[in-house]
């Protein structure tokens, strides 16, 4: 008995130790940041960044308040994400259920796919101009849509043959098979694609805004390079992007948990 | 040999939260015995085996092998799970050598034993294949071969044939008896299938519903090879069935 008690006690203290380690490591990150700012005086430290944040709220860059920059980025991601989901899932479904269509169009898709979304920036700017949101939306859309197409078609092709066979025996027609069996069974794969797409989307957003925008978080980051290396501004941008992107991921995870409740369940 | 039991289990108890899965189980097993554990579905047999393999710690009680607390690092324990558990990145031959290599056995002995085992399970021609190229039953035979190769002090088998076709199953049951006799190992074999238990075992340990206790240990004196339609066989099967019947 004594031995077992010690055992559980050991486990408790181990758990405790892990949390302490995690806290230490986070403190270390901030410590390192601070140390780096001391070592290189051009680099803003945590406190400088906090001060810069207050000044930024009080004196917006070129009259655009901070929240407007954040909203500009969030709006772009939202619009592009919704569009990319609609287009990506439809195209993925088409590739998945029409093998001949895939045979013909997949090579074209494969030719375009390896071009990074960011490499589209110059040509898109040439096409639709640098002003307005369209160019940025297109870039972000390209960033998100590829992963969704690929995952959707893979999910559909991986539908368990047995389930499809059972569906046919239960009397389903082709349309019912698609709606009731193929699509729901591909949902986890589609969500995985959305998550990958979303992180590529944020990356594309920052690049697109750095290169060709007048507002948005990427624009802030780019401004930090111009104004005599205002690194505090960059840190603010980094933190904002990270927060927004993490929030979107959390939201998507929550939706996934709701929708795919069944796929995570275990026997009672 | 009979003077000292090979394995002694004393008061083995396991409690998960409020649920007592195993309640003061005690028994002894002699060296070279083939013991089958049967019990009703959901009676915690797998927890029991995991305890014996030291995969989980008991809430109370002791497991002794050769009068010492069981320790996978010191004793030769092997485990065969219900699902085939070959290492997909190793060939058939390397899979069979895996446990022996962990034990840092002599290289010559390893090669020689691997050849013996491959011969006994009839997979000599497939030695260079990866598990993905084998059928499920062949894969399970590799696992069983791997476990016998170290000539274990204690071999634990958790329903290794549950997923097999009945015909394959008869064949594999004879094979496991052959391996057991040739290596002199001590085997603990869990099954739901009472006929299988009677066919294989020298002793049948009958377990109760949760909280699990040992209801009775029944000696099975029938000579090998056994015949499932032999009246004595049927009688034994009937009496064990009566003890655990829940359906």
């Amino acid at each position: 008995m004594g031995e077992t008690l010690e055992m559980t006690g050991g486990k408790m203290s181990r758990k405790y130790r892990y949390s302490i380690l995690s806290v230490i490591s986070v403190i270390c990150v901030f410590g390192l940041w601070w140390a780096a700012s001391v070592w290189n005086t051009n680099l803003a430290g945590p406190i400088d960044t906090a001060g810069r944040f207050i000044r930024l709220v009080e004196n917006p860059i070129m009259g655009v308040p901070l929240w407007m920059h954040v909203w500009a980025s969030v709006r772009r991601i939202l619009v592009s994400f919704v569009l990319a989901c609609i287009v990506g899932v439809s195209l993925g479904v088409a590739f998945g259920i029409f093998p001949t269509f895939k045979r013909i169009m997949w090579p074209v898709f494969s030719l375009i796919r390896p071009i990074p979304p960011l490499a589209w920036i110059p040509i898109v700017v040439l096409w639709v101009g640098i002003v307005g949101d369209t160019s940025k939306d297109i870039i972000i859309f390209i960033g998100i849509v590829m992963a969704i197409v690929i995952n959707t078609q893979a999910g559909i092709r991986q539908t368990d043959e047995l389930l499809l066979k059972a569906g046919k025996l239960l009397g389903a027609n082709k349309w019912q098979l698609l709606i009731d069996i193929t699509l729901p069974s591909s949902i986890p794969a589609i969500f995985a694609g959305m998550k990958t797409g979303l992180s590529t989307g944020w990356m594309s957003l920052v690049a697109a805004e750095m290169i060709a925008a007048k507002e948005g978080i990427g624009f802030l980051i780019n401004q930090s390079m111009k104004n005599s290396s205002d690194t505090a501004l960059d840190f603010i941008g980094i933190i904002l992007v990270a927060l927004c992107s993490a929030a979107f991921t959390l939201l998507l995870n929550a939706i996934e948990r709701k929708v795919c409740l069944w796929s995570k369940m275990r026997t009672k | 040999m009979a003077d000292q039991p090979k394995i002694v289990v004393k008061n083995l108890t396991k409690v998960f939260d409020d649920l007592t899965v195993l309640d003061h189980v005690s028994f002894e097993i002699n060296k070279g015995d083939f013991v089958c554990i049967v019990g009703p579905t959901g009676c915690g047999k797998t927890t029991f085996l995991n305890l014996l393999a030291k995969l989980i710690e008991p809430t109370e009680g002791q497991i002794l092998i050769d009068n010492e607390p069981a320790d996978p690092k010191k004793h030769n324990i092997s485990f065969v799970f219900q699902e085939p558990s070959t290492f997909p990145w190793l060939t058939v031959e390397d899979n069979i050598k895996f446990n022996m290599r962990l034990k840092k056995m002599d290289k010559k002995v390893i090669d020689q034993r691997a050849d013996e085992i491959l011969h006994m399970i009839g997979l000599e021609d497939q030695r260079q294949l990866y598990p993905k190229d084998l059928s499920a039953s062949a894969e399970q035979r590799v696992v069983i071969g791997r476990s016998f190769a170290v000539h274990p002090d204690l071999l634990l088998m958790d329903e290794p044939y549950a997923q097999m076709d009945i015909k394959v199953r008869y064949y594999l049951e004879d094979e496991v008896l052959k391996l057991w006799r040739n290596t002199g190992s001590t085997v603990l074999f869990i099954t739901h299938n009472i006929e299988e238990a009677v066919y294989l075992s020298q002793k049948c340990m009958v377990m109760s519903q949760k909280p699990t206790t040992v209801k009775e240990i029944i000696d099975n004196p029938l000579p090998y090879p056994r015949n499932v339609s032999d009246p004595e066989f049927i009688q034994l099967r009937k009496s064990i069935t009566k003890m655990i019947r829940w359906w």
Binding site: R17, Y18, L21, S22, V26, V29, N42, G96, I97, R103, I104, W106, P107, V108, L111, R113, P114, I115, P116, L118, I121, P122, I123, L164, S199, W202, M203, L205, V206, A207, M210, I211, I221, N222, M225, S229, D234, F235, I238, V241, A246, T249 | A53, K54, L55, P72, K73, H75, S78, F79, F81, S85, F87, P88, W89, F98, N99, K103, Y130, K132
Partner: protein, 262 residues
């Protein structure tokens, strides 16, 4: 159900080619018939001509295309290799050893959602404009998927396999090297492929923002000189190189992991 009909090989090849050919034909027509102006899009034929021209011509971006390609390749391979060497061990250790995870995963969680390009202004202050900065950015970009996949790979090791080793008396280290690492390898490779893609994409953008040579710089200059042929050529070359290198990694994968069902 959604399996393709059995067809002779030649029909399959024909169908696949027809897709590409129709695509190219439409592209050529759109330009030739003046539906889209040549300020915005050039025909595939013109693109070929530009490529040949660009082998010797340094206008408008100061270097021939081969120099751009070589510079970009060198950078991406260096950054990618560095991130694999550091990221894979870190990922598998984080997935297997709890202490390691407790120590590094908070840092990693903080870094993960930051788009690599956002580091550029800071990196320039620290390292100045040039190779070192770009290397750092590429490293960060490739590092994250490397770690994530190695981590997930070793975490999803079949517990039965770990138990087999454990009951056979394996030490913690033996379980790590003999069971965990090999079983994580397929996922590690997935990570390596993703991280190459990420490195390549980031490199292009980094070159657009802060460089004076490389394919990304070339297309950015092409845009500023209003030369859609240069831009498209650059995109195409970027796509082809990325595709080919990913394919090579896939080939390497089948060699390194012969036990997987490919």
């Amino acid at each position: 159900m959604y399996q393709e009909k059995e067809r002779p090989l030649w029909q399959n090849v024909l169908l696949s080619c027809s897709g590409i050919l129709v695509f190219l034909a439409i592209w050529q027509c759109v330009v030739s018939f003046g539906i889209v102006s040549t300020d915005k899009l050039v025909a595939p034929y013109t693109l070929c001509m530009t490529f040949i021209d660009k082998l010797n011509n340094v206008v408008p971006d100061g270097n021939t295309i081969l120099v751009h390609i070589a510079t970009s390749l060198k950078l991406v391979l260096a950054g990618f290799a560095l991130s694999c060497v550091i990221g894979v061990p870190l990922g598998v250790c984080m997935g297997f050893f709890k202490t390691f995870k407790a120590l590094f995963s908070p840092i990693f969680e903080i870094v993960k959602p930051i788009p690599p390009l956002a580091w550029i202004p800071i990196v320039i202050v620290v390292f100045g404009i040039g190779m070192k900065s770009e290397l750092f950015i590429i490293f960060v970009a490739a590092f994250v998927p490397c770690v994530i996949n190695s981590y997930t790979g070793i975490q999803s090791t079949d517990p039965a396999l770990l138990n087999v080793a454990k009951t056979a008396g394996a030490s913690r280290w033996q379980m790590f090297f003999k069971v965990g690492v090999p079983s994580a390898l397929p996922m590690v490779f997935v990570g390596i492929k993703v991280s190459f893609g990420s490195a390549w994409a980031t490199l292009v953008a980094a070159e657009m923002i802060a460089s004076s040579v490389g394919l990304g710089y070339m297309i950015q200059q092409g845009r500023q000189a209003s030369r859609p042929d240069i831009v498209l050529l650059g995109m195409l070359v970027i796509g082809i190189i990325g595709g080919v290198l990913t394919g090579l990694l896939g080939l390497l994968e089948t060699k390194v992991i012969p036990w997987e069902r490919h």
